[in-house]
């Protein structure tokens, strides 16, 4: 560096990762050939077909440091989300990452929110700090360990949903949040889901399949009871156990479009009211970026992976 490192540099030594596990992963990523990281392979086809010549590797796994009082956890990217959540649950906490059999790195690389996003928060805001291996095989750190941080360009936001095309995620710090005292699902087949969504102050999920409306209420028991009462005014809701999570092709629509869901060729669907995510039998028609925004994407890829060796063949957002 050109000698302007402020006064002294006591802490910067700790910034250079000497962690052998990360260094080993960096060596595994290497510097030249095509490479893709496999997590739980639950979204392996997202973004399109992987170039068959690409080497498939795995990210390190394990929880590195968990500080419940700070509501943060440092975890290797290859750790299964279920394993992470089991550890957090022992302290009454969870994260915004989806529990669908995948890994922490995979969930962040894919960046998709699950059904309970309104209650748990988005995947993109869950990531506080990221350590990834660059296309040059270097360990790069972005973001920081605190919940609030405006220190330069926001590499964590760039990495979420980038599908590993800009860097191979190695280790992350993720924000945790308390598991609510009560979580209760309600079902009605005669409700107007949009009225139900409006009627309660803070639903954790409102899912509509064209007939049934499923609502998840979370929080203090008194709050859940009160909201259940408000919900009752919009349909004959009954308490039900946790439903199976919706699957299918993934659509992303402005929430207002859900009122016109019948005009979209979805086939059987489950729509997340107030959010706009739809799981459907048929895929969403291809979306495109404007040429100007595409150009920024192309330059970003050129900057981070000039030879196109990271997850070759895949493009974020395609083939959902």
């Amino acid at each position: 560096m050109s000698g302007d490192s402020g006064s002294g540099d006591s802490s910067s030594a700790t910034l250079h990762s000497t962690d052998p596990v990360l260094r080993e992963f960096a060596e595994l990523v290497g510097e030249t050939d095509g490479v893709a990281v496999a997590g739980g392979r639950t979204r392996w086809s997202a973004g399109g077909e992987l170039d068959s010549a690409a080497r498939v590797i795995q990210a390190p796994s394990g929880i590195v440091d968990y500080v419940p009082e700070e509501m943060i956890v440092t975890v290797r990217a290859g750790t299964p989300v279920a394993e992470l959540h089991a550890e957090l649950a022992a302290k009454g906490q969870r994260t915004g990452l989806p529990e669908r059999g995948g890994t922490v790195g995979g969930a962040l690389a894919v960046g998709e929110n699950d059904v309970t996003v309104l209650g748990r928060g988005t995947v993109r805001s869950a990531l506080l700090q990221v350590r990834y291996v660059s296309s040059e095989g270097r360990i790069v750190n972005g973001g920081g360990p605190t919940v609030k941080n405006v220190t330069g360009f926001d590499l964590p936001r760039l990495m979420v949903g980038s599908l590993g095309t800009l860097g191979c995620l190695a280790e992350v710090i993720v924000r945790t949040n308390p598991i609510p005292t009560v979580s209760q699902w309600y079902l009605a087949s005669d409700a107007d889901p949009f009225a139900s969504y409006q009627a309660v102050m803070a639903p954790s999920a409102v899912v509509y399949d064209g007939t049934n409306t499923l609502v998840l209420l979370e929080g203090h028991a008194v709050d859940v009871d009160q909201q259940a009462g408000e919900l009752a005014a919009t349909g004959s809701f009954v308490e039900v156990g946790p439903p199976s999570l919706p699957t299918g092709h993934r659509w992303s629509l402005p929430p207002a479009e859900l009122k016109k869901i019948a005009t979209h060729d979805t086939g059987a669907f489950n729509a997340l009211v107030g959010v706009g995510t739809v799981w459907a039998a048929k895929p969403q028609p291809a979306r495109t970026l404007s040429p100007e925004v595409q150009a920024v994407h192309d330059r970003m890829k050129m900057q981070f992976d000039p030879t196109g060796r990271l997850n070759p063949g895949r493009k974020p957002g395609v083939n959902r």
């Binding site: 560096m1 302007d4 402020g6 006064s7 002294g8 540099d9 802490s11 910067s12 910034l15 500080v67 009082e69 700070e70 929110n113 988005t122 993109r124 270097r138 360990i139 790069v140 750190n141 920081g144 360990p145 605190t146 919940v147 609030k148 941080n149 405006v150 220190t151 330069g152 360009f153 926001d154 590499l155 936001r157 760039l158 979420v160 949903g161 980038s162 949040n177 102050m201 803070a202 008194v222 709050d223 909201q227 992303s252 629509l253 402005p254 207002a256 479009e257 997340l272 706009g276 970026l289 925004v293 150009a295 920024v296 994407h297 330059r299 970003m300 050129m302 900057q303 981070f304 957002g317």
Partner: protein, 508 residues
Amino acid sequence: MASFLKSAASAGSAAYDSFRRLPGRKFEPAETDQLVLDLQAALTEDRVRNDSAQRALMSHDASVFDGGNAGPVCYPETTDEVVAIMKIAERHDRAVVPRGAGTGLAGGAIPLGDAPVVIAVTKMNRVLEIDEDNGIAWVEPGVINLDLTNHLKPHGYHFAPDPSSQQVCTIGGNVANNSGGPHCLAYGVTNAHIMALEVVSPAGDVLQLGGLDPEPLGLDLRGVFVGSEGTLGVTTKVAVKLTRNRPGVRTLLLSFSSVRDAANTVSGVIAAGVVPAAMEVMDARITEAVENYVHAGYPTDAAAVLLAEVDGLESGVDIDADQIRAIGLANNATDVRLAADDTERALLWKGRKTAFGAIAQIAPDYYLHDTVVPRSALADVLEEVYAIADRNDLLIMNVFHAGDGNLHPLIIFDGRDPGVLDRVHQAGAEIITASLDAGGVLSGEHGIGVEKQKFMSRMFTDDDLDHQNRVRQAFDPVCRANPGKVMPMGHSCADIQQLRAVPRDVWG
């Protein structure tokens, strides 16, 4: 490393340094300047100002740093006009500096280098649409933060980020600095509240970043733009998320005989799994100043007060409020007061939000710092901050967003005292060191600007900074937007230099 050296090789003149005077340049209005004539032709004559008074004014922001060197100051009213300004600036090989209300504290809006064109968006100040079905409002960037919330109130919503400067700062500035406020503890900072942005790129392209749908196609460039301090382009339209007003609110004022007890209460509340809407701590000095100023009913005999607020449904907030009270008492709170009604609540908040105004009574100058530390380290770092003040013979007060560990040590001084600036500067550097050593970060909400560039390498390696610089390069290969900010010296866009001539096709 190799790639970093490449960008370092383009280093030009020295980067801006805090408190160092820039080479003095007189604001000579150049009436015949073709740049000005072109800008006036694209806007109107009265909305392109080139007089020395206006340029001098626009050479500063609310930070303690010496002013820069503003070129012509433009007041566009439409996106098309911003595009025109950008293209004219490009033709004249001139940089641009986006500007909102100029309340930034890190010097982000100070124009550096060769008289950049200032794009002041204050006349783009309309709330364009409230779209309840999509849960957003489209607003222009010059809308004042508090005006937006007042505008949304009758509809039952508000804009969650509430910086203390909310009566004057703009949404565009909030986006550029990823601003926070007391109520960002539960609701998250600006980034969590921006769905989509219209941005005029440094090449004059209009970009739609993000979208009203939950998973817009491609990379999260919206997320990357938020917090980029005007270096990636100018925001001309913002889709902000509507946050529903909560029916139940409880505001507590807890008094303590030590700052440590207050800090321990804060980490205790978080550890207990309560997520209050806000938790703000004020030390005795600032509490006294505030009380003299607004008579909010703060105790002037406490070493620290904690203002905590919970919101939600009526019955649930009582449970949370009781828990905060209990944790406070367990940490030796000497008094716990619950605001009886909206009037008392408003008064308590008025005290907190006018804290900085109150300081004007005490000393002519202040320097507000901004670092974040792990909540469990709050008490230790605060102790160190007071020691730093003593060592440097300065007065420091603390009023801060305790819930998220965001410290705001406020250094009070009189700039006329000989040598005081050096001590202020030294204390600032020591506060940063103490925060980083405790596992914290450089800035929680004010950003890097020109203030903390040289500390960036304390938190990041060369490789880390090189990658941040790549983001900048992807949006702005010629460093036209707000040059000289954020990145430390040695990184291409940090250096104040003539814009590099780049072949057209770099823009792709």
